[in-house]
């Protein structure tokens, strides 16, 4: 053993270890004081894990949906010559850009017919996307409901097979469309005799079943999977299904030509955000259910401005061909996607001079190694805002306030929780002073036996250190176990209190996401041990300074 190691070993005299170990095992009051450190550490680990779980999910989704950089043109007629712009971008950025897509982006209103004859209007972000390239710049396809669309996006209505694993998902696609059109046609052949009764049935559907109303015999057979939502209500004998005629007539007036046969034709396809056409709620037995106002196969009407200098509203019918569920409620409740070329035609987005199509923004995906801010600044330099008037933003810029708020929240929570541990430190300080007072005579004895003041001090420091290790170690284990079984614990608390801990209807997560960062755990543990040691310094100094004679006489 070399001299240095020998010195270290000699420095750690046996009595300090033995006494601090015995104190640890016999002073339960100190263990009680360390419980607050334990709880603080456990809470910090849980909070940090949940916060980083949420943040990670949020970043992943936001980033996925937003693409890396968006070059937006606010001119009503849009950005001319997108191909030239894309060439320029490719030239400026070189390998830093891996994909680009042109997008037309316009605010719009969607009108969904409800089964009770009323309709529902919602504001939406209407996006014309290029099916071939849009999926390359952002995670779009994985959030579509139909498995085939996830691999090969198409705006043509599929026969069926929409998210078969989802519980309560209504029958969709052509299967649903044909059944619905058949139902509508059958009903439209009936004389609309009881409008008054039907109206009352809308208001009080369960109060008094309408006996006079009978379904026609030629209603097509209900697809087997159908179980809830619009279609189920419309099948109910007491429901006023002939109200569909009214909306149908409006619908026909605006969009239908005589030759359009909804039985085997569709309008331009639209992919609606999940929350636009659903309402999520909890049943009495606690199950989360989506109520579908419309589903793939149904038609909706969308109103949006044209691209001219004099803004006019355009009314168009679209057929819902798929649903989009990113589980970010902000996007799911506003995004609706249609093919780029169709939207350009509908809005008349052609450059007045060249006649080429225009777009409202270009979205870029960068090489993962490229620096987001640098690339953005290079683009800003190349397309100066004074000349082009474009807004060039990274996804972080666009979500800046939200990201900053979440970051701030995490920081504040960490500070608050660490303060809790610091408060616990004062508890340890008080307990330690008490123990030093209680041990005054023993300290005198140790000094009379030749223990140096430094040695007496280090008994209490190593006692504080070992308490810190025990407290934060137990806290760490508790915290990690808590994080691991967080969802089970949340479920148990729900059973116990009857209060919902984690509401999936708000967060769109099935479970609470958690990410445990080992570095955070290590820092929290080190911090807690340091606080315990810091709290034991003053009492240890007091112990070291005790006069041996006075200590021996202490009663």
């Amino acid at each position: 053993m070399d001299g240095r190691r020998l010195f270290l070993a000699e420095g750690m005299a046996m009595y300090k270890l033995l006494l601090s170990w015995r104190y640890l095992r016999t002073r339960y009051i100190a263990l009680a004081s360390i419980m607050s450190v334990t709880l603080g550490v456990a809470t910090l680990i849980v909070v940090n894990s949940v916060m980083s779980g949420f943040t990670h999910e949020m970043h992943k989704r936001m980033h996925g949906i937003l693409s890396d950089i968006v070059i937006e043109c606010y001119e009503p007629s849009g950005m001319p010559e997108p191909a030239w712009h894309m060439q320029e971008i490719q030239r400026v950025l070189g390998d830093d850009v891996v994909a680009m897509t042109p997008v037309v982006h316009v605010p719009a209103m969607v009108n969904i017919r409800l089964s009770n004859g009323r309709s529902m209007t919602k504001w939406i972000n209407f996006l014309g996307i290029d099916p071939a390239t849009y999926g390359e710049v952002c995670d779009f396809s994985p959030y579509l409901i139909h498995p085939q669309n996830q691999n090969n996006l198409s705006f043509a209505l599929r026969e069926d097979g929409y998210d078969e694993e989802r519980v309560n998902f209504p029958t969709s696609g052509w299967q649903h469309r044909r059944w619905r059109v058949g139902l509508e046609r059958s009903l439209s052949q009936r004389p609309s005799n009881d409008n008054a009764q039907i109206d009352s049935a809308i208001i009080q559907p369960a109060a008094e079943p309408l006996e006079t109303f009978e379904l026609p015999d030629d209603i097509p057979e209900l697809p087997s999977k159908l179980d809830s939502g619009v279609t189920q209500t419309s099948l109910d004998k007491t429901s006023p299904d002939n109200s569909l005629q009214e909306t149908d007539s409006v619908y026909s007036q605006t969009t239908h030509s005589d030759v359009f046969d909804p039985m085997d034709e569709q309008h331009t396809g639209v992919i609606l955000g999940m929350a636009i056409c659903t309402s999520r709620h909890k049943t009495a037995d606690g199950e989360v259910r989506d109520h579908f106002f419309c589903q793939p196969g149904d038609d909706v009407q969308i109103q949006f401005p044209n691209a001219g200098q004099e803004v006019k509203a355009i009314f168009e019918s679209f057929t819902v061909v798929d649903l989009y569920e990113s589980k970010m409620s902000e996007y799911d409740s506003t995004f609706a996607f249609v093919p780029l070329s169709k939207l350009q035609e509908m809005r008349n987005m052609f450059h007045p001079e060249t006649g080429s199509r225009t777009v409202s923004s270009l979205q870029l995906r960068l090489n993962p190694t490229a620096d987001l801010e640098t690339v953005r600044d290079r683009l800003r330099a190349h397309f100066p805002v004074e000349t082009f008037g474009y807004s060039i933003q990274s996804w972080r810029d666009m979500q800046g306030p939200l990201l900053a708020a979440v970051q701030m929240e995490t920081t504040i929570l960490n500070i608050l929780l660490f303060l809790i541990i610091a408060v616990a430190g004062f508890g340890i300080l008080a307990t330690f002073f008490m123990i030093v007072v209680e041990k005054t005579r023993d300290i005198g004895v140790l000094k009379s036996l030749g223990a140096p003041s430094r040695g007496v001090m280090s008994i209490f420091l190593s006692y504080g250190f070992s308490l810190g290790i025990v407290g934060s170690g137990v806290g760490m284990v508790l915290g990690l176990i808590f994080v691991k079984y967080l969802n089970e614990i949340a479920g148990f608390v729900e059973i116990l209190t009857g209060q919902e801990v984690f509401d999936p209807t708000i967060y769109y997560f099935e479970t609470i996401p958690t990410i445990t960062n080992p570095l955070t755990v290590v820092w929290v543990t080190i911090g807690a041990v340091s606080i315990a040691v810091l709290a034991s310094i003053l009492p240890a100094i007091r112990a070291a300074r005790l006069h041996p004679v006075e200590a021996l006489r202490y009663e």
Binding site: L6, E10, M14, R441, V445, L446, A451, L552
Partner: protein
Amino acid sequence: MSSALPTSIKPESRRIHSVDDRTLPSGKTGQHHVSPADQSPALLECRQLMKSYVKGSVTIPVLRGIDFSLTAGEFVSIIGQSGSGKSTLLHLLATLDAPDAGEITFEGNRIDNLPSSSRDILRNRYFGMIFQFYHLLPELTVLENVLTPIMISRGAVSYLLNRRKHQNHAKDLLELVGLSHRLTHKPRELSGGEMQRAAIARSLIAEPQLLLADEPTGNLDRSNGLDIMKILRTLNAQHNLTIVMVTHDNSIAQEADRTVRLVEGLVEKV
């Protein structure tokens, strides 16, 4: 309580007072086997020791110029009434406290003005102390209490490497004081007499040259007190241990070779 005291000391028990090469902080080698009759230099000597305590604005003189010396192998009792300053004198001799004036020499070296680290070593290796209230550490077993001075002077590694040797030594000492059946007991499980025996064993573990006893029988009944005195006498007679004992009890003080009476902070001239 067992009062059986080994009449014959085992050869290894001689270690309690064996000659070793330890030196004082000043570097002087210890001297042993000096009979009180010899006119050899004093093992411990104090000259004109003064000590007073300040209570608020009042200064209370406790020791007012003590002259006292002790040769190796002597058993001296210091007797005096309560408040005569005998305990204060003992604390000064043990370097637990510093005198206001005067000096104390141990083996010819001045010890009252040593730095605290040297005084710690002195108390740990050269002096043994026993107290009226035993002062065993309640968290430790009897054996661990006896080993405490060794644990203080040795690093953990060095202690653990030689643990068996130290433990055997401690067990021998506990056998010497008749407590070998109580090794793993905690002090609270012992009687007063047993605790004092354990304290004596602890004071001997570092093989000291001087035992300082502060009212060792003060808290014991007569029978137990006599047992403790018997042990001290044996240690003095058979192991040549120099002992200074403070007591207020005349009959206990008679057990010593020599008695020094303190009256109002001064040594009474006989």
